[in-house]
Symmetry: C2
Subunit: 274 residues, 2 copies
DNA sequence: TAGTGGTCTAGACCACCGT
DNA sequence: CGGTGGTCTAGACCACTAA
């Protein structure tokens, strides 16, 4: 290494001298460069990124600095480290991160358990829960203003709407309304959804190059209106758990708005405060 | 340093030689020692722990190893680092970690905002929300079996029950039933609760030496029964958000079981999936 | 055996804080 | 100014994986 971190130190000195914005430490700059590689698709979900020593050479920093950058990516679940093998881009197809966004669980794990590891058709399962999905509707339309606002679109831009029913043990459990930006999800049809076996986010990642990174949720208790009561086979006015979710991809760009109405008679939403 | 990490290396070699349990890396051993110091009260909430160099000398490891141990404690919110000052034991009295466990937020931040920084009597506020607490009941009794099971007590052991009503803008919003192990919370009375101004967990930490570290929650939507409907001033049968919480202290010991019934007409439970 | 991530060390320098 | 945490480096060795 002929010029170890000359750029970084220059930046740092720069920041001290100027009154301008303080510069990020080297490992954060490296981290952001790596995020750029992930975002641009240079390394695709499931693939490995270059080794730490290679990245250190490429960016002309020490291995320790690259290591700290990757530590942050791993903490954010953008990559997964595997000792002896390498560092891999996280994927919703992997079991490890499959159910990271699924918080609904059966009250009694035993009562709702299927065969260990079993999955229903279109199934998203986890924690001994078997869930089957039925797509009720999938159409494209112009964004209503509230949807446009949440997704950061202009009103009237094309969006896709998926309505689906999740069932556990044959009982309707969750009714989802899912809004997606039309531009990102060209070619999304009910047939395509029916043909896909696996988590929805794995489909989005694989078929549309859109990877959900994190999500913000708002929960409320609401009374079932007539339509939803009928679909979920509960009395009108029954309490439902409304889970509103905005999913974000790289750079915190919103790419999904979802409203789920959950029957919580035999299930609950689990959360850990840490 | 005369014998740098002789213990650690011996352990490591040991583990490799034996078929027994693998030994934790040095920094985890150090971390656990530090947790022991926190748990035993060697360093109290708000106080600073020894500096990294001092700890490195004490445990005869490098500063980098101590640093990594403290990194984990900081990630778990057990300590807070402050550049140039030191590392401090986290406290519920500090604004930083005041509202870490409060997930209920007004739907429209503007609508419910009081004076910036204002707090109601008994208030737990945050995110522009003002909440006032009214203790309805505080008595001691023998643990019902379900409470005993959750708190890890034997049935019939003494427990304390607090019932309180949280109000926002004069509107009843949350009805809490809080169960505590009697042994830990000797001397807890309604008068003591009324006299305390600040978060409940700060009281527990300051007056009873019990610090809540993390919590597990289960959420459901339920219909308001007659009593709760009256107390919360909503129609009987209205949907309420039921938040069931088990709080844990060091070593994941359960020390609180709480059931909160929330009116979510103007508020929601916020969560981030990361 | 070669290559990867994981641990540990030692030392330099920086940014920040209170005195 | 001295002391604290924060960054960065360089190099050694370990643990794991795959060929």
């Amino acid at each position: 290494m002929s010029e170890p971190s000359s750029r970084a130190r220059a930046d740092s000195a720069h920041a001290a001298a100027e009154a301008g914005p303080t510069f990020a430490p080297l490992y954060r700059q490296i981290r952001d460069l790596l995020v750029g590689g992930l975002q641009s698709g240079e390394w695709k979900p499931g693939e490995s990124i270059p080794s730490e020593v290679e990245l250190a050479a490429r960016y002309r920093v020490s291995q320790g600095t690259v290591r700290k950058a990757i530590d942050e990516l791993a903490a954010a679940h953008l990559v997964v480290r595997r000792q002896g093998r390498g560092t891999f881009v996280a994927s919703h197809r992997e079991v490890r991160s499959q159910f990271r966004f699924l918080r609904l669980r059966p009250d009694d794990p035993e009562a709702d358990a299927g065969e260990p590891g079993e999955q229903g058709a279109q199934g998203e399962s986890g924690h001994g829960m078997v869930m089957t999905s039925r797509v009720l509707e999938c159409r494209r339309l112009r964004a209503p203003s509230d949807v446009a606002r949440v997704l950061g679109l202009r009103g009237g831009e094309p969006v896709a709407l998926i309505r689906r029913l999740l069932e556990t043990e044959g009982r309707p459990t969750v009714l989802d309304d899912i809004w997606l930006p039309g531009a990102r999800f060209r070619g999304l049809t009910a047939e395509r959804l029916d043909a896909w076996h696996g988590p929805l986010y794995a489909l989005f990642e694989t078929e549309f190059g859109t990877r959900m990174i994190r999500a913000l949720e708002r929960l409320k208790a609401v009374a079932a209106d007539r339509d939803r009561a009928r679909t979920l086979q509960v009395p009108e006015g029954s309490p439902l758990l409304l889970v509103e979710r905005v999913s974000l991809t790289y750079a915190d760009q919103p790419v999904e708005w979802r409203r789920g109405y959950c029957v919580t008679g035999r299930h609950h939403y689990f959360n850990e405060l840490a």
